[in-house]
C-alpha cells in the first residue's frame, strides 16, 4: 500500500484538494471509490511488473518502464499501455468519474474490470488528442487489445530491403529456423547501389535444402515455390491466382488440432508458408493484398463455427476474391476500354512484355471486330514479349515484334501505348516490369498517349520515387549470351570489377501516364490514394 501510495500520492492529493475546493466533503461513495482505486492500482502495478519483464525481451523500444518517474505529458510516444496506466490513472480518475456510467458503490469484479478498461481507453484517447478533454471519448470501447492501438507510430521496415543490415539478417535467420524453413543465400557480386536487396541464383533453388517429405510445408506450397523461383508461374495475376489456389488446397487439407481455434491456428499455419514463398521469390504487391484479405477472413471466422462450415466459408471467400478482383475486373476493364473507344479502327497499339490483362483486352477488342494492329516490344533477358506475341498471333491479330532499343524508331507509327502494371503506388507511380518507364518516356516525347491497365487489388499503400529502394534482383547469369560464337561475359565472376545487373521492376512517374483503366472506371494516376481510402472505408 505504501508503494501505491507513492504513485497515488500526487493524484489523490489533487483529488482531495479539488473536492475540498468544490466545497463538499468526501461523500461515502467517494471514499469507497478511493479505496477501490487503491486496490486497482495495486493490481495494475503487479500486472505491469509482470508485463515489463516480458516486454524487455521484445525488440520494441523500452518506454519508461519505471512508471513512477514519468508524468503523462512528458511521454511523447507511448507504446505500452500498462506501463503508462499506473502513472496516469490517478490523474484520469477525476476525469473519468463523470464518464463512467452507473457507478454503484458495490461492484462485481467484472464491472471493476470493465471500469478499469474504460479508464484505460479514456487515458489513451486523452493522449491522442493531447488535450485535457478526456472523459467523453472513453465510451468508445474498441474490441482489440490496447497495445496494438499504439503501434502505428513505429514502422517496421520490410526485411527484403534491409539485406545490408546484419542484424536484420540474423533475425530473419532465427525466424526461419524457428519455422524450419531453409535460408536462401545470396549469389554473385551485387552492384553497390543494390546491396540492400537480395540476389539469388536460379541454379540453387530453395527446395534442394528441404527434406523430403517436408513435414512443415504443405506440398502444394513447395510446388508453388519452385514454380515461382524458376519463373514457370510469372506475372502478377498468375502468381496471385496460383497462390490463392494453393491456399485453397491447404485449407482443404487442414484440420484444427485439439484445444485450438481455427481462426487463430490457421493463420499461424500460414505464416511459415508465406515465409517460404518469400524466400523462393519476393512477394508481389498483389500477393500481399491477397494474403491480407485471407488472413482477415480467417480471423473473422466466429469461434462457434464448425470446422467444415468454416472451411467451406473460407473456400468460398477465396473463390469470390479471385472471381471478383481478377476475372471480373479484367472483363470490366476490357469492356470499359472497348466501349469508351480506347481501341478504335485503324489503331496501331504498342504493348510491352506480356501482361495478361492487356492481352485479354486486345483479344476481346479483336473479337468485337475492331481493326487494329499491334506492335509487341520485348526486352532481354526475359523475352516475355514472345509469349504475348504467341497469344495474339493465335487469335489472328496482325503483330510486329521489336526489341526495346528500336522503340524510338517505331513510335512514330504508333497511335496508343497500352501498358500493364505490377502495382500502383500511393503517390501515383506505376510499378511495372523494367523498361516500362522507358517506353512511357519515349512515348511522351513523341506525344503518344500512354494507358495503363490495372485492377484495383494491385493498388498499394507504399510510396516510392525511384527504382532503387525496393526492387527485385533476378539471377545475374541471365544476361550472359553467346553472339557470333563468343560469350564475352563468360567468366564474369572472376572479374573483380565487373557486375551484372538484372532488374525486374521499375517505377514510372505519373506525368508519363495519361490514363489508368481500372474496373472502377478511368482514373488519372494520382487518384490512387483516393481509391485506397474508399476501399479501406468499405472494408
Amino acid at each position: 500500500m505504501a508503494d501505491s501510495g507513492v504513485i497515488d500520492g500526487p493524484g489523490r492529493k489533487d483529488e482531495i484538494e479539488r473536492a475540498k475546493s468544490e466545497g463538499k466533503d468526501l461523500t461515502k461513495e467517494e471514499k469507497q471509490r478511493l479505496r477501490k482505486e487503491k486496490k486497482q492500482q495495486k493490481k495494475i502495478k503487479e500486472k505491469k511488473d509482470d508485463k515489463a519483464s516480458q516486454e524487455n525481451e521484445k525488440e520494441k523500444k523500452p518506454v519508461t518502464s519505471a512508471a513512477p518517474a514519468s508524468q503523462p505529458p512528458t511521454q511523447p510516444t507511448v507504446q505500452k499501455a500498462p506501463s503508462a496506466v499506473p502513472a496516469t490513472a490517478p490523474v484520469s480518475v477525476p476525469a473519468s468519474e463523470a464518464s463512467v456510467p452507473a457507478d454503484k458503490p458495490t461492484k462485481t469484479k467484472a464491472e471493476l474490470k470493465a471500469e478499469r478498461r474504460a479508464r484505460q481507453e479514456a487515458e489513451r484517447a486523452s493522449k491522442q488528442t493531447k488535450k485535457g478533454e478526456t472523459g467523453q471519448q472513453a465510451a468508445t470501447s474498441k474490441p482489440k487489445a490496447p497495445p496494438s492501438d499504439l503501434q502505428p507510430v513505429v514502422k517496421r521496415l520490410p526485411e527484403h530491403i534491409q539485406v545490408d543490415n546484419p542484424d536484420v539478417l540474423k533475425k530473419l535467420a532465427k525466424k526461419l529456423e524457428r519455422q524450419q524453413i531453409p535460408l536462401r543465400s545470396d549469389y554473385g557480386y551485387k552492384v553497390s547501389l543494390f546491396s540492400h536487396l537480395h540476389q539469388y541464383s536460379r541454379k540453387a533453388p530453395l527446395t534442394q535444402q528441404l527434406s523430403i517429405p517436408s513435414t512443415v510445408i504443405h506440398p502444394a506450397i513447395v510446388r508453388l515455390g519452385l514454380q515461382y523461383s524458376h519463373g514457370i508461374v510469372a506475372g502478377s495475376n498468375a502468381r496471385s491466382v496460383a497462390l490463392l489456389h494453393a491456399f485453397k488446397q491447404v485449407i482443404r487439407d487442414y484440420t484444427t488440432p485439439q484445444n485450438e481455434e481455427l481462426s487463430r491456428d490457421l493463420v499461424n499455419k500460414l505464416k511459415p508458408y508465406i515465409s517460404f514463398l518469400n524466400q523462393c521469390r519476393p512477394l508481389s504487391a498483389s500477393m500481399g493484398n491477397a494474403i491480407k484479405y485471407i488472413k482477415k477472413e480467417i480471423s473473422n471466422i466466429p469461434s462457434n463455427c464448425k470446422e467444415d462450415e468454416a472451411k467451406n466459408k473460407l473456400l468460398n471467400c477465396i473463390e469470390s476474391y479471385i472471381n471478383e478482383k481478377i476475372i471480373l475486373a479484367g472483363v470490366a476493364i476490357a469492356k470499359c476500354a472497348i466501349e469508351k473507344q480506347k481501341i478504335s479502327d485503324g489503331d496501331v497499339i504498342l504493348v510491352y512484355g506480356c501482361s495478361s490483362l492487356v492481352n485479354h483486352i486486345l483479344c476481346k477488342a479483336f473479337e468485337k471486330n475492331r481493326k487494329f494492329r499491334v506492335i509487341v516490344v520485348d526486352s532481354r533477358p526475359r523475352l516475355e514479349g514472345k509469349e504475348a506475341l504467341r497469344r495474339l498471333v493465335q487469335k489472328g491479330i496482325s503483330c510486329t515484334y521489336v526489341l526495346i532499343s528500336a522503340v524510338s524508331y517505331i513510335l512514330p507509327e504508333v497511335s496508343k501505348v497500352f501498358l500493364g502494371a505490377h502495382a500502383l503506388l500511393a503517390n501515383g507511380y506505376v510499378m511495372s516490369r523494367v523498361g516500362t518507364s522507358q517506353i512511357a518516356l519515349v512515348a511522351k516525347a513523341f506525344n503518344v498517349p500512354v494507358l495503363v491497365c490495372c485492377e484495383t487489388y494491385k493498388f498499394c499503400d507504399r510510396v516510392q520515387t525511384d527504382s532503387f529502394v525496393s526492387n527485385e534482383l533476378d539471377d545475374p547469369d541471365d544476361l550472359i549470351v553467346t553472339r557470333k560464337g563468343t560469350t564475352p561475359l563468360e567468366g564474369w565472376e572472376n572479374e573483380s570489377s565487373l557486375g551484372l545487373l538484372n532488374l525486374v521492376y521499375d517505377v514510372t512517374p505519373p506525368d508519363f501516364v495519361d490514363l489508368v483503366i481500372t474496373e472502377l472506371g478511368m482514373i488519372p494516376c494520382t487518384s490512387v490514394p483516393v481509391v485506397l481510402r474508399v476501399k479501406n472505408v468499405d472494408q
Binding site: 510486329t400 517505331i410 518516356l441 549470351v481
Partner: protein, 333 residues
C-alpha cells in the same frame, strides 16, 4: 610493263576494298571500326593517286570521284568513306591552288567574292604541275598520321571531363569511348554502367575490356536505362556519324538514352573524331536507318509465330536527334 600491272593491281585493290565494305556492313564479316575504314579508304586513295594515270588535278579528281561513288554505294551506312573522299578532294584542290601560287587569303571564298565574282570560278584544274603528285601524296600521308592519333588525342582530354567517384553511362561498344575511359581510369576512380545494346550485345565486350582495365563496371539491359539514369552523372557515348545539323547517327538505343538523360538533366558527351563529321543533312527522320536480318531478334526456330509476324524492323542504327541538347562535342582539336 609496270603500267598495266599497276593498273590491274590497283583495280584489284579497289574491288577487294569494295567487297570488304559490302560484307563488313552486314555484320557477317569482321566488324570493322570506323577508324579502320577511314584509314583504309585514305590508304586506297593514296594508292590511286600514286598509281592511276592522270595528268592534271582535274583528272585525278574525276577518278577519285568515280571510285568514291562506287565505294559509298557499296556501303551507304559507312559515312566515313564519303568523308575521307571529300577530305582528299579538298587536299587536291588546296595543293593545286598552292602550286598555282595563289595565296591562301585570295583562295578563300569571301562573301564579297561570292557576290561579285558571278558564276562559278573558272578553276577547272586543268593545269598540269609536276610536283602536284608528290605534294598530294605527302598531304595524304599527313592526313593518315592525323587519323592515327585521333583516339589518343581524344583520350588525352578525358581527365577534363571525368571527376572522381562519378557514375558514367555508356551504350554499346565504341573504341573511342573505351580509350577515353581507360585513360581517365589511370588517375581517377569512377564507375561505369554499360547498356548492353541488344540484339548484338556489343556492350558485353566493352564491359569486359573496361573491367580488365580496373574500372568498376556494371552491365545493364537496355530496358533498365531509364531506371538507373537517376544515379548517373554523365553519359558518354560514341557515334557513327555526326550530321551537319548537329544530329547523330548512332547505335540503336541511343535516342532512348538521350531522352532519358534529358529527362534527368544529365549531360551527354559524344566522343567523335574528325572523320566522323559529315556534311549530310537528315531531311527526313527515316533516311538513315540501317536494318539487319530479323534472325537475331526472332530466330527462325520459332517458326510458327515467325511466318505470321511482321519482322522487317530491326534497325541497327538509329535516327538523328538533333533536337536534343548535346552539351559538347569532344574531338574538336
Amino acid at each position: 610493263m609496270p603500267g598495266p600491272y599497276k593498273e590491274t593491281d590497283l583495280t584489284e585493290r579497289v574491288e577487294a576494298f569494295l567487297s570488304d565494305l559490302k560484307r563488313g556492313g552486314t555484320g557477317a564479316g569482321p566488324l570493322r571500326g570506323s577508324a579502320e575504314t577511314a584509314r583504309e579508304t585514305t590508304a586506297l586513295l593514296r594508292k590511286i593517286t600514286a598509281q592511276a594515270r592522270w595528268s592534271s588535278a582535274g583528272d585525278l579528281m574525276e577518278i577519285i570521284r568515280k571510285d568514291g561513288r562506287r565505294m559509298t554505294a557499296a556501303q551507304p551506312s559507312e559515312t566515313t568513306v564519303g568523308n575521307m573522299i571529300r577530305r582528299v578532294l579538298k587536299i587536291i584542290r588546296e595543293e593545286y591552288a598552292r602550286s598555282r601560287g595563289s595565296s591562301e587569303e585570295a583562295d578563300q571564298e569571301s562573301l564579297h567574292k561570292l557576290l561579285t565574282s558571278g558564276g562559278l570560278s573558272e578553276e577547272n584544274f586543268r593545269q598540269p604541275f609536276a610536283l602536284l603528285k608528290s605534294n598530294v601524296i605527302e598531304a595524304i600521308n599527313e592526313l593518315l598520321t592525323e587519323l592515327e592519333g585521333t583516339t589518343d588525342n581524344i583520350a588525352m582530354q578525358a581527365l577534363e571531363h571525368i571527376h572522381s567517384n562519378e557514375v558514367i553511362m555508356t551504350i554499346g561498344r565504341s573504341r573511342t569511348v573505351e580509350a577515353f575511359l581507360k585513360d581517365a581510369a589511370r588517375k581517377r576512380k569512377f564507375h561505369v554502367i554499360v547498356a548492353e545494346c541488344a540484339p548484338f550485345c556489343q556492350g558485353h565486350e566493352m564491359a569486359t575490356n573496361l573491367s580488365k582495365a580496373g574500372i568498376e563496371t556494371t552491365v545493364i539491359t537496355d530496358a533498365a536505362i531509364f531506371a538507373v539514369m537517376s544515379r548517373v552523372n554523365k553519359v558518354i557515348i560514341g557515334t557513327q556519324t555526326v550530321l551537319a545539323n548537329g544530329g547523330l547517327r548512332a547505335i540503336n538505343g541511343t535516342h532512348t538514352l538521350a531522352l532519358a538523360a534529358k529527362h534527368h538533366s544529365t549531360p551527354l558527351i559524344v566522343c567523335a573524331p574528325m572523320f566522323k563529321l559529315s556534311p549530310q543533312f537528315p531531311n527526313e527522320e527515316d533516311t538513315f536507318h540501317k536494318f539487319v536480318s530479323p534472325h537475331e531478334v526472332l530466330p527462325f526456330t520459332e517458326g510458327n509465330i515467325c511466318n505470321k509476324t511482321d519482322l522487317n524492323h530491326v534497325p541497327t542504327f538509329g535516327k538523328s536527334f538533333s533536337d536534343l541538347d548535346i552539351s559538347s562535342l569532344s574531338g574538336f582539336f
